[in-house]
């Protein structure tokens, strides 16, 4: 049963602390995406990777957020220092581009619910 695995599922932290969220993409997928879901903005793309290379992180506040893929089985999203406005659900998704007119379909993890107090 292939699935995207995210840890932790829930994280409560205090303002100023570092937060690290982890994602294990589906084996064989070569694109990985980080999204943030808020009530106001819906699903916002923060960053994405293809073949472990970062391709777009324009949606991410770069002064405090960083995203990496140390290897093909692990993607990380770090926030340092965290702020209350970072409270949201963070989703990781992975995909594999399909040939032809159909694009890759993204498969989402269950998310990390972050609360910054």
């Amino acid at each position: 049963d292939a699935r995207v695995t995210q840890t932790p599922r829930h994280k409560v932290t205090e303002m100023g602390q570092e937060v690290t969220m982890r994602c294990q993409p589906i084996l064989g997928h070569n694109t990985v995406f980080w999204y943030r879901q808020t009530m106001m903005q819906g699903l916002e793309l923060l960053a994405y990777f293809r073949n472990r290379a970062p391709l777009d992180d324009s949606g991410m506040p770069k002064d405090r957020f960083s995203a990496e893929m140390p290897d093909a089985t692990l993607a990380t999203l770090k926030i340092q220092p965290s702020e209350p406005r970072d409270s949201a659900v963070y989703f990781c998704a992975s995909g594999f581009p399909a040939p032809g007119p159909q694009t890759n379909i993204q498969y989402f993890g269950a998310g990390t619910r972050l609360s910054v107090l």
């Binding site: 995207v4 694109t31 995406f33 999204y35 903005q41 819906g42 699903l43 793309l45 994405y48 293809r50 391709l55 777009d56 989703f91 998704a93 995909g95 581009p97 399909a98 040939p99 032809g100 007119p101 159909q102 694009t103 890759n104 379909i105 993204q106 498969y107 989402f108 993890g109 269950a110 998310g111």
Partner: protein, 113 residues
């Protein structure tokens, strides 16, 4: 600016009736459209998609219609069932020229008994 718009934040439909969820987009370069369904405490799951070369795609109770001239698509669920209560996200992309998918803000569908 929102390139994919779902103007109805929520929708309530009687069980057994048709649910119609609407979506508008602004970028004429989009040529592939997707609907995702999301239950609480879970990630979005892919539901159905349509290429711009088609105007309709059907999968069981779910049908997506695409009107390119109006830059509008809709998801029809017939008949609606209690398990269909969820948030539905409309999404669009530029096919295999772009990995990114642009999501709307979602519509929460309530199926009433």
């Amino acid at each position: 600016d929102q390139q994919v718009k779902q103007n109805s934040p929520s929708l309530s439909v009687q069980e057994g009736r048709i649910s119609i969820l609407n979506c508008d987009y602004t970028n004429s370069m989009f040529d592939y459209f997707l609907w995702y369904k999301k239950y609480p405490a879970e990630g979005p799951t892919f539901l159905i998609s349509i290429s711009s070369i088609k105007d309709k795609n059907e999968d069981g109770r779910f049908t997506v219609f695409l009107n390119k001239s109006a830059k509008h698509l809709s998801l029809h669920i017939v008949p609606s069932q209690p398990g269909d209560s969820a948030v539905y996200f409309c999404a669009a992309t530029r096919g295999n020229r772009d990995d990114k998918i642009i999501f709307g803000k979602g519509t929460r569908l309530h199926i009433l008994p």
